[in-house]
Symmetry: none
Subunit: 262 residues, 2 copies
């Protein structure tokens, strides 16, 4: 009866999904650009933005819309992730090079590990276990990855799950490789963190993997923090950047830790 099919447009709600993608990609999109891109009127574009804004997916501003930094709206981790960003990305690339398809890997919390997660989005046939909420968000929509979240009590400053629920879940899983960030690494004191309640969870994490790989930029090297997590010989591989003190790298290698300089 009706043969209007070749109407190029995307009716209704699923156009909103495309608009959302557009906004997330371009960071800022004007009403006029949306009208042009989809061949719709200003009123409709406005309504779409209104609907997306209602659901908190974007943030309307005068003249258009910007992404709603909400899920990955990280308080402290956001500030930190810009420090040493270059080094962190290099470290993440070196870490990704250690991962093969078909493997099961654990990713811990921290901004460097998050960079690693970003690189894994396009992988196929990979199982990722994590207790980091930003990592989960980063990989949630990746079709090729089986994502296992650990659960537990959310520590809101770090956006990671910790506690006995986390530890119990850890006892149910195993990983080929464990990638964690750490607050401080020292040859004598080993791995140390700033937050005591997290220690037990960190120790449980170290037990689930055959190979422990620590990601730490040079600002963490040779430092000692409050809470002891594990001795240095728990670490198989440390990936850091070329800014790490030469003698620190040497000392680590002396005690049998493989050190990769990215």
């Amino acid at each position: 009866m009706r043969t209007n099919a070749q109407k190029t447009a995307f009716p209704g709600p699923d156009r909103q999904g495309l608009i959302l993608d557009l906004i997330n990609r371009r960071q800022r999109v004007s009403i006029a650009e949306i009208c042009e891109a989809f061949g719709i009127s200003e009123a409709t574009a406005r309504r779409d933005l209104e609907a997306l804004d209602q659901r908190g997916l974007i943030c309307k501003v005068r003249g258009g819309a910007i992404p709603a930094r909400r899920a990955p709206a990280e308080p402290p981790i956001l500030q930190r992730s810009n420090q040493h960003l270059e080094e962190k990305q290099r470290i993440a690339r070196a870490a990704a090079a250690l991962i093969q398809e078909g493997e099961t890997v654990f990713l811990g919390s921290g901004s460097t590990v998050l960079e690693l997660a970003r690189l894994l989005r396009s992988y196929n046939n990979l199982t990722v276990i994590t207790n980091s909420l930003p990592v989960i968000n980063e990989l949630a929509s990746s079709g090729g990855i089986t994502l296992v979240g650990l659960g537990g009590v959310l520590r809101s400053t770090e956006l990671s799950f910790i506690g006995h629920i986390t530890e119990q879940a850890l006892s149910e899983v195993r990983a080929d490789k464990v990638f964690i960030g750490i607050h401080a690494v020292d040859v004598g004191e080993g791995l140390t963190n700033a937050y005591l309640p997290e220690t037990l969870t960190d120790r449980a994490i170290l037990k689930i993997g055959r190979e422990i790989i620590v990601l730490a930029d040079h600002s963490k090297c040779g430092r000692v923090s409050t809470a002891r997590v594990a001795p240095i010989n728990a670490v198989h591989t440390l990936i850091t950047d070329t800014g790490a003190p030469q003698e620190f790298v040497e000392a680590l290698r002396q005690v049998g830790v493989r050190v990769i300089l990215a």
Copy 2:
């Protein structure tokens, strides 16, 4: 039960399989295209889509249908979540009114429950347990809420955690009130969902709370879906909107379910 085969080339259920293939191949198919392709009326095309949607194989959108599972960006929850948005928000407000500070509540997955989570952001001294990633993101930055994530394997179409890790974590927690959405509610068949593997997790969820509160807009009422989750007497309270059929509400009250019309 075996069907007929008449003048049309592709009778009944067989045709639905072909439609499913078509949708999966083309990503988006309009009603009119289906009518043309199979030589059937608009009404029949609609019925086929309805049947496929009920089984969770596709996702109906205005003007046609799209595949249920698709990698890019936000999954069907996005498409679905602005249908009946007004009703959902009213239902969410009625649900929030049942929550007092100091309580521990469980929030399930689904768009209506997500609206409830949005209302809880400003609460103080509240413990929220959830297996829904959107709910976690919504409440992650809320200082007054202790947030317990359940972990498990992430089901990417619904962004919820399911599986035996989830169920084990559930055995560790208890909640004063359990709020869940559901795909379909019927007096005789009770609660039913579209996705079979989720059933065990849903049942485990029902066990952790003293009071089970189901949130379902009127489009879910009197419907039956594929997988049985629980009989109707497992539900203590149903919150729906005023669009629910009067006789449905009456029948529920007859069997002892408290019904709140928002």
